[in-house]
């Protein structure tokens, strides 16, 4: 038994589950939001997990693209497909600029640069007239996809969203498995060696940055269409922190990790109030009732626990467990 045998079954089941989700009582908008964040985290993981670059500025791509798409659709009257395209391109463009600055430094400095540049975009978004400042961009219509599919129905929007996310996910998988992806992994393992083998590592890193940013932009654009608004919270640095957390919880450098992590983190944030109420009932400790307001504290604690004791993340642990069984079981001989 090994990971390779389990993976297709797992993804198949997940896809079936997602196709069936609206019919078994899941609220489509919630699942769509989850899908957008899963895509966002997967795009982020391409950089962190497969290239070894910790970007702390991914909110810029998610939020920047969300604003651009929102503006294009609402004010310019762009069709949804055009809006998504513009959003993705704006993500790529932002990625090109940020990446170009970031690759000038290594390691932790690069991370600080991404954080600072994203913060710059946050202040810009706060001041620019078209973003609506503190109010955000409200009432973005979903429109008709290719002039035919009316997206105002949640169910139609859901399947369109699912198709886009699956395609983008497959694109990332293809990227990781390609020779290009192999070079990225080589850079992550040992950059000087990759350089000595003749690879222009900066160009590879920049391209990885752009791809990651473009897909993060797509996630942001899609999110705007689904929810009908784009707000400052999408460009705030805490959104960048969020995607790091999702990837860390799910397992960085694993394909399914960010999906699992996004599901866990988004579900936790939406349900933590209920969880608190439940705990308060069970334990009769009143404090748990306030758990809903303390999302930050809980999120922070998860960070601390993950870094100290759980660095492989959920999928990382599962993969490691399967591999242990695989080598111990004798099937591999």
């Amino acid at each position: 038994m090994n990971v390779k045998k389990f993976a297709p079954i797992g993804y198949g089941l997940l896809l079936l589950g997602l196709i069936a989700a609206p019919f078994v009582g899941a609220y489509p908008v919630f699942v769509m939001k989850l899908l957008c964040f899963a895509l966002f985290a997967t795009a982020f993981n391409l950089l962190l997990g497969y290239t070894g670059l910790l970007s702390f500025g991914h909110a810029a791509f998610l939020g920047g693209a969300a604003y651009v798409t929102g503006h294009a659709v609402k004010v310019w009257g762009a069709t949804p497909e055009l809006g998504l395209l513009i959003g993705t391109l704006s993500g790529a463009l932002l990625g090109l600029v940020m990446g170009w600055f970031t690759i000038r430094r290594q390691g932790i400095y690069a991370t600080m640069i991404t954080l600072a540049l994203a913060q710059m975009l946050f202040f810009a978004a706060l001041q620019m007239p078209f973003t609506g400042g503190e109010d955000g961009l409200q009432g973005v219509p979903r429109g008709k996809l290719f002039g035919v599919l009316d997206l105002s129905s949640d169910l139609t929007m859901y399947y369109v969203c699912l198709v886009i996310v699956v395609l983008a996910f497959l694109l990332i998988v293809r990227t990781i498995d390609s020779p290009f992806g192999q070079v990225l992994r080589g850079i992550k393992e040992n950059e000087p060696r990759a350089t000595s083998l003749g690879y222009d590592t900066n160009r590879f890193k920049l391209l990885a940055f752009v791809i990651s940013a473009a897909i993060a932009g797509l996630a942001g654009a899609l999110k705007t269409l689904v929810l009908g608004f784009a707000t400052l919270s999408d460009v705030h640095w805490s959104a960048s922190g969020h995607v790091v957390l999702m990837t860390l919880v799910g397992g960085m450098g694993t394909l399914a990790g960010p999906l699992v992590g996004a599901a866990v983190v988004v579900a936790l944030e939406n349900k933590i109030g209920d969880l608190g109420t439940l705990l308060a009932k069970l334990t009769t400790i009143d404090w748990f009732n306030t758990l809903g307001e303390s999302v930050t504290i809980v999120t922070g604690l998860i960070f601390v626990v993950c870094v100290l004791a759980f660095r492989r993340g959920i999928m990382g642990e599962i993969v490691a467990w399967l591999e242990r069984r695989g080598t111990g079981g004798g099937n591999s001989h």
Binding site: L54, Q119, L126, I297, L301, I302
Partner: protein, 294 residues
């Protein structure tokens, strides 16, 4: 007298405000640099420790009636103690790991600390009165100098220079610098490196808290006051490079002044000017103004 249509006193007062901000940048980036040198950890919690310094000062005044001057010493000591706890409980497990884990761990701690205080005090600002001794302003003829702001700048510069002196000119500082270069060798010479590491973190935390106390009467005291500051300080660190103590101090002060001028001439850009300068410095000198390319 006017320069580019801006009156001289208005400009000088913005310049002073810029110097005040710059003092905080200097103290905080100095602490970050010292901690990074020995612990290899980028301390995201620095902003939270700064906030703790200010908030503890406010709490001591409101609940116990302890005055500013006592807290100027007590708050850094208390927060230094918090630093010892953080280092012993959390940070020491991750020194051998990639840098990113240090950043993420301290980010998590920041969220917990800020979250706890936000759930108690909310996000609205808590006012803190200027200590009586420094109330009012002095008329220098060409400008009105608010006493407290002048004090912040002077106190910060004194603390920064003292830190520079200790690190660059004393035996203790020599151990510290040697520890930054090669901790194992220093340990072999009989220096207790783990204790030195703990104390270094505590010292960095105390510095941040000192800046926090100074900031309490200038800024509104809120549980989130360190949040945006720390990101600006990161940019300051990228611009200056963490290799040089004096470099951190000068970069911090200089950027504060530039920010102050921006507020006069083009206020819209005042929140982003530091980041723009960072981008320019990265283009011209990727290793930072005082950094060495490794």
């Amino acid at each position: 007298m006017e320069i580019f249509g801006v009156s001289m006193p208005a400009m000088l007062s913005q310049l002073l405000l810029g110097l005040v901000n710059g003092s905080f940048y200097a103290i905080l980036s100095l602490g970050l640099a010292v901690i990074f040198g020995l612990l290899n950890v980028i301390n995201f919690a620095h902003g939270a420790l700064f906030m703790l310094g200010a908030l503890i000062t406010w709490m001591a005044m409101s609940y116990l009636g302890v005055n500013y001057w006592v807290m100027l010493i007590a708050a850094p000591l208390l927060v230094g103690l918090v630093g010892v706890v953080i280092e012993r409980l959390f940070l020491r497990w991750i020194y051998k790991l990639d840098h990113l884990y240090g950043l993420l761990l301290t980010l998590g701690l920041t969220m917990v600390i800020e979250g706890v205080f936000r759930s108690i005090y909310g996000v609205s600002g808590l006012g803190y009165d200027t200590p009586e001794l420094l109330e009012g302003a002095t008329n220098l003829g060409f400008m009105i100098l608010p006493n407290y702001r002048a004090w912040v700048v002077v106190a910060s510069i004194v603390v920064c220079i003292a830190t520079w002196y200790v690190i660059e000119k004393t035996k203790l500082g020599a151990y510290l610098r040697a520890g930054t270069e090669n901790p194992r060798l220093v340990e072999a010479f009989g220096v207790n490196v783990p204790v030195m590491i703990t104390l270094t973190y505590a010292f960095g935390a105390a510095l941040a808290a000192f800046a926090g106390v100074l900031a309490a009467p200038v800024y509104q005291v809120t549980p989130l006051m360190g949040q945006n500051l720390i990101i600006v300080v990161f940019a300051v660190v990228v611009i200056g490079g963490m290799g040089s103590i004096m470099g951190s101090i000068l970069t911090g002060l200089g950027l504060g002044v530039i920010e102050g001028f921006t507020k006069v001439f083009y206020p819209e850009a005042s929140s982003t000017v530091v980041f723009v300068i960072m981008a320019i410095v990265l283009l011209i000198r990727p290793a930072g103004l005082f950094g060495k390319e490794k």
